[in-house]
């Protein structure tokens, strides 16, 4: 019954699917499917740190969620802002010595500089080198529209994220 043994071994490995980290950041409560975009936007692969990606976990609040763990790196304020823009529901845990040293919810900044690309092809920011600025406006809880400082158009989050993914 070789197959059963394999299943038993796999079960033993289950605790390892999310292992504890000594120092770093755990981004929790990411809506399922958004972790990959987040990893890309935060440019985590470039930091040369171990990044663990968990997709489609069961959420206590119902539904599914993603989790991202970054070892040996605490997110900067700018990075926290980036998390807030993409996943306003996220919780950020700062881990020191295997313990949660700090835990906070990502907070949407009043203005977002540089990070976003305007989806309007006729916006001046797409024609010349201009640092972009966007103003988030809450539509509902944790759901935002983003207004471009230059062309003044409002974009829903999906369009903004699609542009980030195209970058």
């Amino acid at each position: 019954m070789k197959k059963d043994i394999k299943i038993e071994e796999m079960k033993k490995l289950r605790p390892f699917r999310v292992f504890a980290i000594e120092r770093g950041t755990v981004i929790d409560h990411i809506p399922a499917g958004k972790a990959l975009t987040l990893v890309k936007v935060l440019k985590l692969p470039a930091h040369n740190k171990i990044v663990t990606l968990g997709l489609n976990f069961k959420s206590k609040k119902g539904g599914q969620k993603d989790i991202v763990k970054v070892e040996g790196k605490e997110l900067s304020q700018e990075e926290v802002n980036q998390v807030a823009i993409l996943v306003p529901t996220a919780t950020i845990n700062i881990i020191r010595n295997y313990k949660v040293a700090d835990k906070f919810k990502a907070k949407m900044p009043k203005m977002i500089e540089k990070l976003l690309v305007c989806p309007n092809p006729n916006c001046i920011t797409r024609q010349e080198e201009v640092i972009t600025k966007f103003y988030p406006a809450a539509k509902k809880k944790d759901e935002y529209d983003f207004r471009c400082h230059y062309c003044e158009r409002n974009f829903p989050e999906e369009e903004i994220i699609a542009e980030i993914n195209n970058k």
Partner: protein
């Protein structure tokens, strides 16, 4: 709240203007219309930078400056500007700002006026940036409404035609939220007011209703703001054929309207107002265009600090 000082301010978007700002501009426009000030801007120079042609807006800005005693330099199309050599707008405007006292500009790219304003300390007046903003049009519209109705508060205003893509009606609806207007939007379903404007109206507790026929609203409104329906907006030519005659204003429509009703139009008109309407006391679109001169004079005088 009193209007902030206008000296050296840019006028890029009507959203940058408070209710007090708008009232101040209209008050100055009226003063200048009643009593011309041919020496007010003597020795001041305005750059008139039209990166895309717009004869009416350009002539209105330039005449406004000249009639106040100022001088004008500039160009009327992008081909003769340095942008055709690949210079960035930021650099070009920074240089122009060193030569002149005020800049009036039109540019086909959205956000260009805001960007230009960042490059220079001199005030920039936006004469249209692509499909985005055209604040002097909104100000002349408000001035015309004020002139004909002797007030701005609590008016019944209908907007007719292409409300989806029409920049002027978006800005006007947004500006009228300061004055508690009751708005009526008359358009074929596919060209109705976009939802983000309707959301803004709801948030500001402005009452509005959507209609498909001019007759549903014309007898109760004070202002009928007509716009052109463009054929290229329709994916199905049959839809255009159906819509084009429904949104044409004729003399028959005016049989039972309020005496104070005024018909406005940002112009150019094609066929959406029958020429027979021109001779009625309700037609106001040509005077409206003239008012652009005074609205622009008011802005020039204010941002150059010559009227406080």
């Amino acid at each position: 709240m009193p209007a902030k000082s206008f000296r050296d301010r840019d006028v890029i978007s009507v959203k940058d203007l408070t209710k007090a700002d708008i009232q101040k501009i209209l008050q100055v426009a009226q003063q200048l219309k009643k009593k011309p000030r041919p020496e007010l801007l003597k020795n001041k120079v305005m750059a008139s930078l039209f990166f895309e042609p717009s004869t009416r807006t350009r002539l209105s800005f330039e005449t406004a400056m000249e009639r106040l005693g100022g001088r004008v330099v500039g160009f009327a199309e992008a081909g003769v500007s340095s942008s055709s050599k690949g210079e960035s707008l930021y650099d070009a405007m920074k240089i122009v700002g060193q030569y002149v006292d005020v800049i009036a500009m039109r540019h086909p790219v959205e956000g260009s006026a805001r960007r230009a304003a960042e490059s220079t300390d001199k005030p920039v007046l936006n004469g249209g940036d692509g499909a985005n903003q055209h604040p002097t049009q909104t100000l002349l519209d408000l001035f015309s409404i004020y002139e004909t109705q002797k007030k701005l508060n609590g008016l019944e205003v209908a907007m007719v035609g292409d409300l989806k893509y029409g920049r002027t009606v978006h800005s006007l609806a947004s500006a009228l939220t300061h004055f508690g207007a009751r708005l009526h939007f008359v358009a074929p379903e596919m060209l109705q007011m976009p939802s983000y404007i309707l959301e803004e109206l709801k948030a500001k507790k402005i009452k509005y209703s959507l209609h498909e026929e001019i007759d549903e609203v014309i007898n109760k409104v004070d202002i009928l703001y007509m716009t052109r329906i463009q054929k290229e907006r329709f994916t199905d030519p049959l839809d255009y054929e159906r819509a084009k005659d429904v949104y044409v204003l004729t003399k028959d429509h005016l049989a039972k309207v309020k005496k104070n009703l005024r018909v406005m139009h940002p112009l150019p008109r094609v066929n959406e107002i029958a020429t027979e309407v021109d001779a009625t006391p309700h037609a106001y679109y040509f005077e409206q265009a003239e008012n652009g001169l005074y609205a622009r004079q008011a802005l020039l005088a204010l941002v150059l600090g010559k009227i406080k």
